[in-house]
């Protein structure tokens, strides 16, 4: 488990066309990694994420994706993910095929992936149109009760990228707080990249904390602030103002492109991005 720069990690481990899951439910969203994928101009990615919010709004708006597997796509508490909408509604900047689930279905699919089962099982999608538009939602019959239950195919991303609080020098990773489906998405992946707030001598993980052992982690990169404008418990809070202000930026293709050029494509790395945002007063 090498400790790399984020540039190296993305360069070495993410290929055009890969299926890539950036997980983190509101908390610990790997924005730095998303930006690095944009900077390295990855194309045709199959992006996977329960909640394609701002990080995928940015990546999809930047043209990284050809496909999206998701269960809820918006700006949480604010409104639409305008760049995701523009891709689905108008194919801009590139057509986006969608594979749509419910949260419970996605969670079951990651869990199955982590367990290397071919499918996840749930009492789900009852009476909805989701199974009609997504042929991957199927059923099995319970061998005891005869009841039909919903199935979803396991998700096994080529690469999962997480942001976490800490890693130690061996590459053991500690996550605390709201966990989302990060552990399941991480263990479901063929490769697991993790950005962290800091690298420490001793994780000092509480008993039963979520620790991903170094030997399931492909690479770690230290990127302080790497989840901003989402948050990292114990490090910095969620920047709600950025989420609110993003609505205006993302509504307009031109304004979005300017933002992207200036802050992501025009910066060398995430530290540079944060410096540029700080200079702009934190507003996008």
């Amino acid at each position: 488990m090498p400790i790399l720069t984020l540039q190296q990690a993305v360069c070495q481990h993410v290929r055009d066309g890969d299926s890539v899951a950036l997980e983190g439910f509101t908390h610990l969203i790997p924005f730095a990694a998303g930006h690095e994928l944009i900077r390295q101009r990855r194309r045709g990615l199959h992006l996977i994420r329960m909640t394609p919010d701002l990080v995928y709004d940015q990546m999809i708006g930047a043209g990284c994706a050809g496909r999206l597997t998701f269960s809820w796509g918006g700006n949480p508490g604010v409104g639409s993910a305008h760049r995701v909408r523009d891709a689905i509604e108008n194919g801009w900047p590139a057509p986006l095929e969608i594979n749509e689930h419910s949260h419970a279905g996605m969670a079951a699919a990651y869990t199955a992936g982590a367990a290397r089962l071919p499918f996840g099982l749930l009492r789900g999608y009852l009476g909805t149109d989701l199974a009609r538009v997504n042929p991957s939602i199927r059923t099995v019959t319970c061998p005891y009760s005869g009841e039909r239950l919903a199935t979803v195919p396991a998700l096994n991303p080529d690469v999962t990228i997480l942001h976490a609080q800490k890693a130690d020098r061996a590459g053991n990773v500690l996550i605390t707080g709201i966990l989302g489906a990060q552990k399941e998405a991480g263990l479901a992946a063929r490769k697991l990249l993790v950005t962290v707030e800091e690298i420490v001598e001793d994780l000092a993980a509480p008993m039963n904390a979520v620790v991903l052992p170094h030997w399931v982690v492909t690479a770690v990169a230290c990127v302080p602030g790497g989840a901003w404008p989402s948050y990292a418990r114990g490090y910095y809070p969620r920047d709600n103002a950025f989420y609110i202000a993003w609505d205006e930026v993302a509504r307009d293709r031109g304004r979005f492109a300017s933002w992207l050029d200036r802050y992501v494509l025009g910066t060398a790395d995430f530290a540079d991005f944060l410096a540029a945002q700080r200079a702009a007063g934190g507003a996008p």
């Binding site: 269960s71 639409s80 995701v84 009492r123 149109d129 707080g177 489906a181 809070p237």
Partner: protein
């Protein structure tokens, strides 16, 4: 804002929030979404239901936030929770297992049986408006013991035919719901005109209560299907001073917290 609902010295949102809060009881286990349901559930907690159990789908169980979260996974939800579990667990062990008394849902469209659309306006493959999608709604609609829908009434939202069924309502004619659903489905719609409940024989939502400043005719006009009414349409008492004071104070604290500038990480 619906003009007709705007009669008191309170906003329609406040009236809806107070009405929803009153429907929650002490000890109720409530699966809360962001926005008005979150305000209602926390208002109930601060008033008559101090032991209400609030669960947000981010995995925070028994949370007691001091201010309303902007997102479903704000840090304070975790810090004040009894337990913080993973998303797969919250959906499998808590929602699907039938441990939720009340789930709140919103939507872009609703039909007379409480089916909800939060996915798309227009055809799925060629959307007029792509909405965020179903999220946790399909399984909440199935597995919460009952579902309360919070939605402002208008002919565009209360429609005869949904463009897409994101989460299932009741079955026409009072027939039993799909096998495997742990819950009874939508049992109330709280609107800016009043409260709709399913008629027991038909499962069709009808107006059972209205706010003081609106008429039944106003509510019918704001509904895309021919809205029925209960034999007696009761009047929802207006917000009390205490309800309004506590709600406004909660919103004030929330605004203050959310407007506090965040130092960018260095």
């Amino acid at each position: 804002m619906t003009a007709s609902a705007d009669g008191g010295p309170w906003t329609p949102d406040e009236m809806m929030t107070v009405t929803a809060a009153r429907m929650l009881w002490n000890g109720c286990v409530c699966f809360v979404g962001i926005g008005l349901p979150s305000a209602a559930a926390n208002l109930a907690r601060l008033l008559h239901a101090p032991d209400i159990v609030l669960i947000y789908e981010s995995g925070t169980i028994g949370t007691r936030p001091g201010v309303l979260p902007l997102s479903i996974g704000d840090g304070e939800l975790a810090e004040t929770a009894t337990a913080v579990v993973s998303l797969p667990e919250i959906f499998a062990f808590w929602l699907q297992a039938g441990r939720i008394d009340v789930g709140f849902l919103g939507a872009a469209q609703i039909d007379r049986y409480g089916n909800l659309n939060s996915t798309v306006i227009g055809p799925y493959a060629r959307p007029k408006t792509r909405l965020p999608g179903a999220g946790g709604a399909p399984e909440m609609a199935s597995h919460a013991r009952e579902v309360f829908v919070v939605l402002k009434q208008s002919p565009r939202a209360f429609v005869t035919t949904l463009d897409f069924v994101s989460s299932a309502g009741l079955c026409a004619g009072g027939a039993p719901r799909a096998g495997g659903a742990a819950g009874r489905g939508p049992q109330a719609i709280i609107t800016d005109f009043g409260i709709l409940r399913p008629a027991p024989d038909t499962s069709e939502f009808v107006l059972v209560a209205r706010y003081e400043h609106v008429t039944v005719a106003d509510a019918v006009a704001a509904t895309g299907w021919p809205l029925g009414t209960a034999t007696t349409v009761t009047v929802v008492p207006p917000p009390t001073t205490e309800e309004l004071t506590v709600l406004r104070e909660l919103h004030r604290r929330t605004r203050e917290a959310h407007n506090r500038p965040v130092q960018l990480p260095v």
